[in-house]
Amino acid sequence: MVDLHLPGTLPPLFVDLPRRLDVEGATVLEAIDRLEERWPGLRDRLCEAGPSLRPHIHVYVDGERAGLDTELGGARRIDVIAAISGG
């Protein structure tokens, strides 16, 4: 299980989605897909066609910049960040 932290912009979009939860998965994409099973549509808010991460969504695994194919073996924490941008 990995400790997943989501950006504050996501919970208002999905019923009962917390900012922080435990997930399973071999890769970041698999972890996102686990969320998709419980909150349909969530993957589309983080990923675009390909799939690839949306341009202003950044993922860190144990503090290191990660991609969808980053493996989670032994990882303790995932941070999904909505980039500080806009105005």
Partner: protein, 358 residues
């Protein structure tokens, strides 16, 4: 008592302006849709639902829906993608509710359909085979703020017939529900070279007279135009207007010859000429135009109005509404003769739609 509702899409969410049927005193509700940029919001008179096309810089394109006039909202983009994954969908630019379904125009250029109240979508057409289609999604052909396919104009009686507007390319008509299309740009002007004279026109807003479906009007990048045969042939009706450029347009609900536009400076500023706000009206199908400015600011009013920024209701004496790039909404309840500012400090406005219910 009847109720008027104006849906205002802005760069920072959707707002709802409400009044009773006299349309004099207005309350503002919102922002809704989590502050996502709203490109176009519409009300479905059949179901009472509100739909809002949005695209978050972070979370992508989606369509929000409310079945309780804005009290609660959900969003979905299920099916809002191109099947092969090679074309991206950056935004849903325009929504049309007609004949029991919702049509969404998107960028990259395509038309999506929903038959379950915006819960799920499927591609209806990407207008393959139209002249130059292979270049439509070339980034070199996509200016800032590209909207792709920003509008679909439905035929009021024939569900399989509609007109699609492709930004910078022109109008395309289908009579078989999107299986095939025909360019409908004959008679339009282009002040730039055209490889194929059937396409390459910059149509900003296309409207149909509710009392004469043969009669279409359009605000074009270069001029106002009218068609008396459902778009088969266009004639220019710009003479008498201060500029040939603008985005918004509205057709009178009861008079086929009355049509409203908001001319803008054609340069990159694209605001009302000389800082004086005005709507222009023709009552003779474009032969003559009247400047309508009573109640509108006439000094230092550098207001812009985008293509979905003006709406007209269907009351006996119809009300007109327009929203500006600086967040004001102006309304007229006397067919444009005089105006009141009914909202003053909203975010930059992308779209205005109105509905009056019994």
């Amino acid at each position: 008592m009847s109720k008027a509702m104006v849906l205002v899409g802005t760069r920072k969410g959707l707002f709802i302006l409400e009044s009773d049927g006299d349309r004099r005193d207005w309350n503002v509700r919102g922002p809704y849709c989590e502050g996502w940029p709203i490109y176009h919001a519409v009300h479905d008179a059949e179901t009472g639902a509100i739909y809002a096309a949005a695209a978050s810089e972070w979370h992508g394109a989606s369509v929000w829906r409310s079945n309780d006039l804005g009290e609660t909202w959900e969003q979905s983009s299920e099916g809002l993608s191109y099947d092969d994954g090679t074309q991206k969908l950056s935004k849903v630019s325009g929504l049309t509710v007609a004949h029991g379904r919702i049509l969404a125009g998107a960028e990259n250029a395509g038309i999506f359909e929903s038959r379950d109240g915006a819960k799920t979508w499927s591609v209806l057409s990407t207008l393959e085979g139209m002249p130059g289609r292979e270049n439509w999604n070339d980034p070199a052909n996509q200016p800032p703020g590209h909207l792709g396919l920003p509008a679909v104009l439905p035929h009021p009686d024939d569900a399989s017939r509609f007109w699609a507007v492709v930004q910078g390319i022109g109008i395309f008509e289908t009579t078989d529900d999107g299986k095939s299309f025909t360019p409908r740009n004959k008679g339009l002007r282009a002040d730039w070279p055209l490889e194929d004279p059937t396409v390459g026109y910059c149509v900003h807003k296309l409207v149909m007279s509710p009392v004469d479906n043969q009669r279409l009007y359009q605000q074009n990048h270069v001029g106002m135009h009218r068609s008396d045969d459902m778009g088969n042939q266009w004639v220019e009706i710009t003479e008498g207007l201060p500029t040939e450029f603008g985005f918004a347009a509205a057709a009178h609900p009861h008079d086929r010859d009355t049509f409203y536009v908001i001319p803008l400076d054609p340069g990159h500023g694209r605001t009302m000429p000389d800082g004086k706000a005005a709507v222009w009206r023709t009552r003779d199908a474009g032969s003559t135009w009247q400047r309508l400015d009573r109640g509108l600011p006439q000094q230092d009013a550098h207001l812009g109005v985008l293509r979905e920024g003006m709406a007209i209701d269907r009351e006996d004496t119809p009300g007109l509404y327009f929203g500006t790039s600086t967040g004001q909404v102006f309304a007229s309840t006397d067919e444009g003769d005089s105006w009141d500012e009914i909202a003053s400090y909203l975010p930059a406005i992308s779209s205005v739609e109105v509905t009056v219910t019994a």
